[in-house]
Point group: C2
Chain length 254, copies 2
DNA sequence: TATCTGTCGATTGTATACAATCTCGCTCCG
DNA sequence: CGGAGCGAGATTGTATACAATCGACAGATA
C-alpha cells in the first residue's frame, strides 16, 4: 500500500525494529526510548524516529505521555477480535467479489490457486509442503481481495493484517501440525472451494458468510496452539499476548 | 487512538497540513514536496517530515516513487466503498454490542442519546439545531462502538473514519437540507432507535443488518449532494474526489 | 538526426548540534 | 521528620548542515 520509505536506513530501522519486537526482544510493557534503539541498531535518530512513528501507527507501539514508547500488549480478547474483524472484512471482500461479477479470466486465477491447494492438502506434512501451502494460502486471500476491486477495502484489511497474528497465514502451521489427527486443514480448504463457487455464481450473501466463518478457523487453531506450547511459540508475535487463560471456545461471546 | 505527537510544532504541522489538504489548498494530484511545505508553514523539516508520514498513513497523501508526496484523490467508487466499509464495521460493532450483552446502565446511555435525537429531528431546521444533531449523532456512533467493547474494532473504524467523507457526520447537513421536503432524517433516526432495540434484545443479526443499512443513508445523501452543488461543496473533503459522474443509484453494484 | 552520456540542479535522506522539557533525587526549611 | 523547591541528568523535540540520489537538460558523437 505505502510506497514505503525510500531509503536504506529507514527501511532497515523499520524492518529490524519490527523484527525485534516480533522476536520479543523488548520486555512486554517495557519502555522503549529512542536513544536505546539508536544504540542497538547503530542508526541515527532521524530514521529511527520515523520507524517508531510508523510502528506506532501500525499498532505495535504505544506512545507514552511523557514521550517514548512501549511495546503494545494484546489481550486474548484483542487477538480474537482481530480475527473477527478480519473475518468481517474478508466477508465483505467475498461479497463484493460476487456482486461485482469477475470476468472468467479473473475468476480462473483464483480457481487455479484453489486447485493447487487441493493437491497440497492431501500430501503428507513436511516443512516444504507447509511453505508451499502457506504461500498459496496467502495468494488465495490476496486474489480474493483483488476480486473485490476495492482499494479502500484492501487498505482496511492491510491495516488489520499488519498485526501478525491477524494475518491469514498466522496459524496455518497449527492446522498442519494437527492435520495428522484431524482434517481441519482439509475442512479449511473445502471452505476455500465453496467461497470460489459462491463468487462464481454471484451468491454474495453465501460468499460473505463462508469467508467469515473461514476466518474463524484461526480461532480454533489459536485455542489448539494454547494447549500445546510447542506450537504456541511459533505463533507470530505470541509473546505480545498478555499472559492469560486459554480461549474459552464454549464461552458466550462471539 | 494514537497518544499523538507530543510537541507543538509536530501537532501544528500535522493539523495545519491536514487542514490545508481538506481546504483544497493543494491542487489534486499536485506534487507536494517537503521543502514547499516547510516554506508555507514556517516549520522546519523534521516535524514537517513527521506530519507528512502520518498523513500518508492516514490516507491523505500518497508517497511518490521519486520521493515527495501528492494529495491522494479518491474516485467516486472509493468514496462509496469507504461508506460501505464503515457500514460493515459498524454492523460488526452493533452485532458485538448485542452479543456481549451490555449492562442496563451502559445501554441507558445509548438510549438517552437516542431519545435526545428523537426530540431534535422534529424541530425546524436551523444552524443551531444542525449542530446539536451532529454532535448527538457523533455521540451515538461512538457510544455504539463502545458497547462493542472491542478496542481492535475501534481502531479499525477510526482508521476508516480518518477519511473525512467516511465519518458518520459527513453528510448530516445534506439530510437536513433535504428534510424540508423529505423525511430522510427521521428515517435515519428511526434506524437508530431500531438498532438500540435490537441490541437491547440481544438480536445480533438484526442489529448488524440495521447498522449496515443505516450507513448506506450516506450514499443517498452523497447522490443528493452531487445534484446540488451548493450542498456538495459542504461535503468535507469533496474536492478530493475525482471529477466524475454522479453516483448511479440504480446501478448494479452494491 | 537520434541516442547516449555527463554534468548540473533540485530534492530527499542522514546525522548531529542545540533547545526545551520532564523526572528524579537531594537539600533545605518549616 | 516531612514536604516543598531547586537542580542535575536524561530524554525528547527542533533545526540545520551535509551527503546521496534522482531527473532533466544539453552537448557530443555516431
Amino acid at each position: 500500500m505505502s510506497p514505503a520509505p525510500r531509503s536504506k536506513q529507514q527501511i532497515q530501522a523499520l524492518y529490524k525494529l519490527r523484527e525485534m519486537i516480533l522476536a520479543g526482544e523488548f520486555a512486554p510493557g517495557e519502555r522503549v526510548s529512542e536513544l536505546a534503539v539508536v544504540e542497538r541498531l547503530g542508526i541515527s535518530r532521524t530514521p529511527v524516529r520515523l520507524a517508531l512513528t510508523i510502528l506506532q501507527h501500525e499498532g505495535f507501539l504505544q506512545g507514552l505521555p511523557g514521550g517514548g514508547y512501549r511495546v503494545r500488549e494484546f489481550s486474548l480478547q484483542d487477538v480474537l477480535d482481530a480475527i473477527e474483524i478480519r473475518g468481517v472484512l474478508e466477508g465483505a471482500a467475498a461479497r463484493l467479489a460476487a456482486e461485482r461479477r469477475p470476468s472468467a479470466e479473473e475468476l480462473a486465477e483464483l480457481q487455479a490457486t484453489c486447485a493447487a491447494m487441493d493437491s497440497i492438502v492431501i500430501k503428507p506434512m513436511s516443512e516444504e509442503v507447509l511453505e508451499q501451502y502457506s504461500e498459496l494460502n496467502g495468494r488465495f486471500h490476496s486474489q480474493l481481495l483483488a476480486l473485490s476491486k476495492s482499494p479502500m477495502l484492501s487498505r482496511s484489511l492491510a491495516h488489520v493484517e499488519a498485526l501478525p497474528f491477524a494475518s491469514p497465514n498466522a496459524f496455518v502451521f497449527v492446522g498442519f501440525a494437527q492435520s495428522e489427527q484431524s482434517d481441519i486443514l482439509k475442512f479449511g480448504q473445502h471452505q476455500h472451494a465453496d467461497i470460489v463457487e459462491a463468487i462464481a455464481q454471484g451468491e454474495g450473501g453465501r460468499a460473505e458468510a463462508l469467508a467469515r466463518e473461514h476466518a474463524r478457523l484461526a480461532r480454533r487453531n489459536l485455542a489448539t496452539a494454547q494447549k500445546r506450547m510447542d506450537l504456541y511459540e511459533k505463533v507470530p508475535g505470541s509473546f505480545l499476548f498478555e499472559a492469560g487463560a486459554a480461549p474459552d471456545e464454549t464461552g458466550a461471546d462471539g
